[in-house]
Subunit: 363 residues, 2 copies
DNA sequence: ATTAGCACTTGGATCATACGAGTGCTAAAC
DNA sequence: GTTTAGCACTCGTATGATCCAAGTGCTAAT
């Protein structure tokens, strides 16, 4: 019954569009009469009723119960997003607000993502999600040891993917810049480039031998390095504006809302969701209802877009709301914010400058 | 009417305790009859009624309406927490679970706090909050510049409070270790120890003059330093288990819950709340209802405890739930978790080892 | 092909009633 | 003097009946 025959005539499209937009606006089923009175259709309610009846048969609409108006089906929304919707044009006001917010804080990617989420939530009145996928353990290409105090050193690690990690290590013996220089060299020759599995006990002992004094220094350092290598950084998810959801009657059911909240906090599912989608698709992705493999989110829509920097996906920002959501506005917002972030990332320093990747060398 | 005369006799205390515990258990007003049938009181309901009536007059109990049972008043809870409650003894099971979780991930304070929150939420079935107060702008005592690639350097700043901040800076000119060494020295002589206001334009120009080449390097570096100095790090708040709140009918009202969520996300109020309390008190703090200055939280109770490392408050973890909360269990949990974290912080490195503070030198 | 008209369905709001839980008080019992 | 039994009273909620408005589907007329 879906997409049978060949699609909708113009009038049906217009009606469907009007229904969806009306429903999104006030959240109630839309009746035939409503469409005639408020709107530009020069048709009677009866005619519209007939069309609606057909639209229902074709799967674009649904009836909550006999005497209610129609509501867009998931399929209907999907069609709307794919074909009917026109891009939302931000108002002067919104644009100004956005620019101001975007410019305010940049710097580290983390902060950037967080700001972006808050922004998205504030602008759309839906819940917004920042996703930072975990980098799966990469090798370390270079070490630097920095002398901080007599007892503390900082370990700086340049990762193969171009990012940098740092950590402080507390040593039990008296440190000196010279000592660190020696250890740094040893690390760079012996450990750089290796994966966690390759750091065997004999290797560690060899290093301790080379370094000579103070295995109370080598020990903690190696331990820290192993931790970083093994880390498989879990990825991070930040929510903003969860409270907005409660504005929509769709989330009135406390129990279901609780479940949803639980999933959102769990991170895992969200991360999977983002990584499941087409890796190369850099447009906003719209996941409507049951297209979503996470059960608890099947009454919601998730719109998200990946953010790249130097060819690598470094995160994503998304918006979550009821299936009845202002797709046009949400999609534009996500798109706009993502673009801006990419822009900022290109301009500012802060993270991988594209470094040792294959693609970038052709310039 | 509060605390008039001189306090409760034994029987009143017992009855009050029983009422509170029953109410916490099932969330409904407690009637006189209920107390007699289920419980160990060898009294009739009438007697209990009389006692309850007096307890009400004294301000420990309240009646939602004439024909409902009694409910503990805020004052009643406060009394319970202060005098009646006995420490919750964790079950073998809970202890095991906790230990396992605590041991799993430690390392950075951030991670630690996050794990702790999740733990607290899981154990208590309330919402848990990790609070990392912002350090109010401190001076930088020392700089280190680390060569990372031809174009990127890492700026390491030792702060006056003993912590370390790092940031990457992208330079437009070709970097070299020698270059950085020179700049490092200039920074250490010219800027170290200064506050943000003291970094004037003339000073910056002086530095550029001293450094000579490439103000395309000095510019970004100084800018970054100023940002860090001005930063007044906002502090951070992490929530876990928000969904648990929805289990309690107290939070059924979607609108109020939305407001509460909004406040929790805002961070600001929470941070204030924690910093408002007695700085030196390291026991768990219990803020019940209207004792809380945040309006939206006046129907809730917040239990939290500060975490110190080397004398400095580095964060707090707390639990938020309905006023009717299992105080005994919650307080013990918070206490236990906090103690464990302190323990871990003492054992592992990772953060300020107490550094250049006054108190610590006396060892 | 469109429209007017009408019978039918149905969820929600409104109202009245009944019920149950709990109290406060008085008078009797210990 | 304290405790208890008994009873009238209060009040929130659950239940059910009724009504209404909105919307549909269908048929017949335009």
């Amino acid at each position: 019954m879906r997409g049978d025959g060949n699609e909708l005539n113009e009038r049906k499209k217009l009606i469907l569009k009007a229904i969806i937009e009306a429903h999104v606006r006030d959240g109630e089923p839309v009746g035939s009469k409503y469409l005639t009175q408020n709107k530009q259709f020069s048709l009677s309610s009866a005619t519209i009723r007939n069309e609606m009846s057909e639209l229902e048969e074709m799967g674009y609409l649904e009836q909550p119960h006999t005497s209610a108006g129609r509501v867009p089906s998931e399929y209907g929304y999907r069609f709307y997003v794919n074909s009917l919707m026109q891009k939302y044009r931000m108002s002067q006001n919104e644009l100004a607000r956005m620019n101001a917010l975007v410019k305010s804080r940049l710097a580290e990617v983390d902060k950037l993502l967080e700001t972006a989420t808050q922004l998205a939530a504030a602008l759309t009145n839906y819940t917004s999600i920042a996703i930072k996928p975990g980098r799966s353990a990469t090798a370390i290409t270079k070490f630097r040891l920095v002398f901080i105090t007599d007892e503390v050193l900082m370990l700086v690690m340049l990762m193969a993917d171009g990012s940098v990690r740092t950590g402080q290590i507390h040593a039990d013996l008296q440190l000196s810049p010279g000592l660190l220089e020696r250890l740094e060299m040893i690390l760079n020759t012996q450990i750089a480039g290796k994966r966690a599995e390759e750091i065997s006990m004999p290797l560690v002992m060899e290093i301790e031998r080379l370094f000579g004094e103070g295995d109370s220094l080598v020990g903690p350092v190696i331990k820290y390095i192993c931790e970083v290598l093994a880390e498989n950084t879990g990825g991070d998810v930040k929510l903003s504006g969860v409270n907005h959801l409660l504005e929509y009657p769709e989330y009135a059911d406390a129990h279901k809302f609780k479940e949803l909240l639980g999933v959102l906090e769990e991170k895992r599912d969200l991360l999977r969701l983002v990584s499941e989608t087409d890796e190369s698709d850099d447009r906003p992705q719209v996941i409507i209802g049951s297209e979503n493999s996470v059960e608890e989110m099947q009454d919601s829509t998730l719109v998200f877009q990946k953010i790249r920097s130097g060819g690598k996906v470094i995160g994503a920002i998304g918006i979550l709301g009821p299936r009845r959501m202002d797709y046009s506005k949400v999609i534009s917002t996500v798109e706009y914010i993502t673009d801006n972030i990419s822009e900022l990332l290109r301009a500012s320093p802060g993270l991988p400058p594209g470094g040792q990747d294959d693609d970038e060398h052709k310039t």
